[in-house]
């Protein structure tokens, strides 16, 4: 009911900025993170804020939300100028940031999560479960969502957690909602659901900021686009002026090649990996495919389709119940990760921060973590060959870091992913599986990572890319398998690999 009222009261066409960050300058030490950047947010508009990692996006958000103070510039909210914001002041002004981890309390219910922060903000001493529920219910109904208010948040899907965070923002009377990479962890249909909610929010007169790497999604939903590079405002304008290609051009300062480029695999030889009727009830069933040397095989499907579980079973994280795995013509039993590695399989996991990297360790320590056995000589580690391996990988993958002793924590997403790749390449695997190889990686690094994969395939490695990034699959894969509810539902090869076909296969 009240949502209709809200939509009536605020039009989407008027271009009066609800918030304007003007000429923001921010330096850290001697480094300028933002050189006079301006961002204008309009009520009822979605503003896509794009840029490669380290371009200053997060600094700008921190300044708007009051987490950092600008060196100069002003933040104008409804005509009132502020030299800087404070976290509390920002919330009072209706500015809400939804970070990637959503900052929810996992042990509390959805209703409690929605209501609690506003109760704290109002300095209420006692918390009443009875009073809180109707307020939460109201928001959920207003937005037309189906959220179970009594469910504990830790049991929710990523998408529902995000919805909870959005509801929490709205109960605090948010007029500006900034969302950091809102679609990364969502499936295609969940993204569509989010976008439907976004139009409801727009109708309520909320200004939204999408910080995103996924260009076509940003274009699908945004009215305004602002692009930053190296702390400078490159361009800002209506979304209709941009397309995928021009955005990536502005982001990287060069043309990014996303065209399809594949080398012919060695189909004449026996497959390097042959999977036959691999089954793990509840996860996947009767999975059979061959992987040839020099081939890049795409494994795609929605989140929860079983695509990740198949990879994890081949790497020994999960144990398949039946089926055969033949590596290089030899039947191989993979009961643990070590079995997989000994058979010549490497795996770049989806969650690279916890599963792939030792964040506080140096790049050097990370690179040799999987190949320690290879670098032994008379019981001791051979410092010379280790140094050679590290330098070789560091240079081959062009990891941008001051030196190999730098902790991985200090690297950007793209460089961190290269370190995980380096770790496996140092072990010389015959088969390399990569789960979401370019998630959270900026456009320029993404292209370079794909180039590295092509080079490895050309050198004879068999590569499996597990991904739901369709343009990426089209760009590198010789064949693409679509997984649906644990079964391979479609296979595409050669000229049949088009974005439309794969998208259709996933959604079918």
């Amino acid at each position: 009911m009240s949502s209709e009222e809200a939509s009536g009261s605020s039009g989407t066409g008027d271009a009066v900025p609800i918030l304007e960050a003007r000429n923001i300058v921010k330096t850290y030490g001697g480094v300028t993170a933002l050189h006079g950047v301006t961002l204008r947010l309009t009520a009822g508009h979605v503003h896509a804020l794009a840029g490669e990692n380290g371009c200053g996006k997060s600094t700008l958000i921190k300044i708007i939300s009051g987490a950092e103070r600008p060196d100069s510039g002003e933040i104008v909210i409804n005509g009132v100028s502020h030299a800087h914001m404070t976290p509390k002041g920002a919330i009072q002004q209706g500015i809400q940031v939804i970070y990637q981890d959503f900052s929810l309390f996992p042990g509390l219910t959805v209703a409690e999560n929605i209501v609690l922060t506003s109760a704290v903000a109002e300095k209420r001493t006692l918390y009443s479960r009875r009073q809180s529920r109707p307020a939460a219910q109201q928001i959920v109904d207003d937005l037309g969502l189906s959220l179970d208010l009594d469910q504990e948040v830790e049991r929710l899907s990523v998408a529902d957690k995000q919805l909870t965070a959005i509801c929490r923002a709205l109960i605090n009377d948010a007029r500006v909602i900034i969302m950091d990479e809102p679609t990364t962890a969502l499936t295609h249909s969940e993204v569509q659901r989010l976008f439907a909610l976004v139009s409801t929010l727009r109708a309520r007169g909320v200004a939204l900021v999408f910080v995103s790497h996924k260009l076509e999604e940003a274009l699908q939903v945004a009215q305004d686009v602002t692009i930053l590079r190296n702390g400078e405002l490159i361009i800002s304008g209506p979304a209709t002026d941009f397309d995928r290609r021009s955005i990536s051009h502005y982001m990287t300062g060069r043309d990014v090649d996303e065209s399809r480029l594949v080398n012919p695999p060695r189909y004449d030889r026996d497959p390097v990996l042959s999977v036959q009727d691999l089954t793990l009830p509840g996860a996947f069933e009767n999975i059979s495919f061959d992987l040839h040397a020099g081939e890049i095989l795409g494994l795609t499907g929605l989140l929860g389709s079983g695509r990740s579980e198949i990879a994890e079973a081949l790497f020994g994280v999960l144990r398949a119940e039946s089926g055969r795995t033949i590596v290089d013509g030899k039947a191989t039993t993979i009961h643990g990760i070590r079995d997989a590695i000994d058979a010549g399989i490497g795996y770049v996991p989806e969650d690279r921060l916890t599963q792939g990297l030792f964040l506080d360790k140096s790049i050097a320590d990370n690179v040799i973590a999987s190949s320690l056995e290879r670098h032994r000589r008379r019981g001791l580690l051979d410092a010379r060959t280790i140094a050679a391996t590290i330098t070789e990988q560091f240079q081959r993958l062009r990891i941008k870091a001051p030196n190999v002793e730098a902790p991985v924590r200090s690297l950007s997403g793209g460089n961190a992913q290269r370190v995980v790749l380096a770790k496996w390449l140092a072990n010389g695997p015959k088969i390399l599986m990569l789960n979401g190889p370019t998630v959270g990686v900026d456009v320029g690094s993404k292209e370079e990572i794909l180039t590295i994969l092509r080079a490895q395939a050309a050198a004879g490695m068999g590569i499996i890319v597990i991904s739901d990034d369709v343009p990426e699959l089209v760009s590198v894969c010789n064949r693409v398998l679509v997984v649906q509810q644990g079964r391979i539902s479609a296979t595409y090869s050669g000229d049949d690999i088009t974005p439309e076909a794969i998208q259709e296969g996933m959604a079918a």
């Binding site: 590695i341 599963q355 030792f358 320690l372």
Partner: protein
């Protein structure tokens, strides 16, 4: 004309190249200094403690006998601190080390007296075997801890708290709570030996420290121990055999504790279940003071050795200026907390600045 131009650009690019190289060398030195931070800090602290007590009571403190006393008391504590540091490297802890050390000491003493009761000469000639049996007791104790932590999956602090009670209980029932007297002459002679002014016991600590440093820094096992502590999940996904690494760690910890037990009986030909009951907390303080990260992944042998010496110097200094052991306990706690506060302050600042420096270096190459 054109030649000159290319010359110029060549020079410019070589200058840029050499600048880059200097940059990366400096950054390397800085980050290495951060890694060695704990060691440098400990060295300063050791020298400071030494200087203070030298200034206060130079005659008594610098007396060779006093210095030798420090060098005789430090090794057993140092070995136990190394043991706990090793387990902390994997992100665990071993609370049972003192109980294991006592069990080793009791084994050696009672085996020696039992054999000696029938044939004193035989007991003496079997001394090396008896010592090895004592060490084996340490290894077995450590293996039990290792199984509980790695195979059963019990949190190290709880697993070793349990085994500490068990080992201690075994020691008490075995000895009836009494102090056992008697140790092979081989050990007691060794305990009194001084080589070039340095007590042999201290050389045992130095040797053990060198071996442990080689294991931690130069072997695949050492690397896996450090990686395991830094991120157990990533260690598993990197193909590191977690259970094997943990079991080896706790066996090594048990062996070091056993060696400490051998030093107990070498210093004093006695053994009892309640010897060194205050050591558990002391060695945790030493390990952390020496720069070991209790969350795992980081720690150095040298840092722990220096921390051992510092606390021994403070202990002996307090003795000389006639402060009680209670004052020493207060000093231990105060030193630990001051160091932790300094750590918090500096690491907070470092965390804020380090990524920015690398960003600054990364951006020019990016564009």
């Amino acid at each position: 004309m054109t030649d000159q131009k290319t010359d110029e650009s060549v020079t410019r690019s070589t200058v840029r190249e050499s600048n880059r190289r200097v940059d990366s060398a400096v950054m390397g030195a800085i980050s290495r200094f951060h890694l060695q931070h704990g060691v440098v800090r400990m060295l300063v602290l050791t020298l400071l403690a030494f200087a203070i007590f030298t200034a206060v009571k130079p005659r008594v403190f610098l007396n060779p006998l006093n210095l030798q006393n420090i060098a005789i008391a430090a090794p057993e504590i140092g070995l136990l601190a190394l043991a706990i540091m090793l387990t902390m490297l994997t992100g665990g802890i071993d609370l049972s080390i003192v109980a294991i050390a006592n069990l080793t000491a009791i084994t050696i003493s009672s085996l020696y007296t039992a054999i000696g009761a029938t044939d004193a000469g035989l007991a003496e000639s079997l001394a090396p075997v008896i010592v090895l049996v004592g060490l084996a007791v340490g290894a077995v104790g450590g293996y039990v801890n290792g199984l509980l932590v790695s195979r059963v999956g019990i949190t190290p602090i709880l697993a070793t708290l349990g085994t500490m009670q068990i080992f201690n209980g075994i020691a008490i029932t075995w000895t009836g709570g009494k102090t056992l007297y008697g140790a092979p002459a081989m050990l007691t002679t060794f305990g009194r030996t001084v080589i070039a002014g340095i007590p042999a016991l201290f050389l045992v600590l130095v040797a053990a420290a060198i071996v442990l440093a080689v294991v931690i820094n130069k072997t695949a096992l050492g690397a896996t121990i450090r990686l395991q502590g830094a991120n157990p999940v990533a260690a598993r996904f990197s193909g590191i055999r977690t259970d094997r690494t943990l079991t080896s760690t706790y066996v090594m910890s048990g062996l070091l504790a056993g060696l400490a037990g051998i030093l107990f009986v070498s210093r004093n030909p006695t053994a009892s279940a309640d010897y060194g009951s205050s050591y558990v907390l002391l060695v945790i303080v030493i390990a952390v003071l020496g720069g070991t990260n209790p969350n795992g992944g980081f720690g150095t042998v040298l840092g722990v050795i220096l921390a051992t010496l510092t606390l021994q110097i403070v202990s002996s200094g307090f003795n000389i200026i006639r402060l009680s052991s209670y004052d020493y306990a207060i000093a231990q706690g105060a030193i630990l907390i001051i160091i932790m506060v300094i750590d918090q302050v500096t690491s907070g600042r470092r965390r804020r600045t380090v990524p920015k420096i690398s960003d600054a270096l990364a951006t020019p190459t990016e564009s």
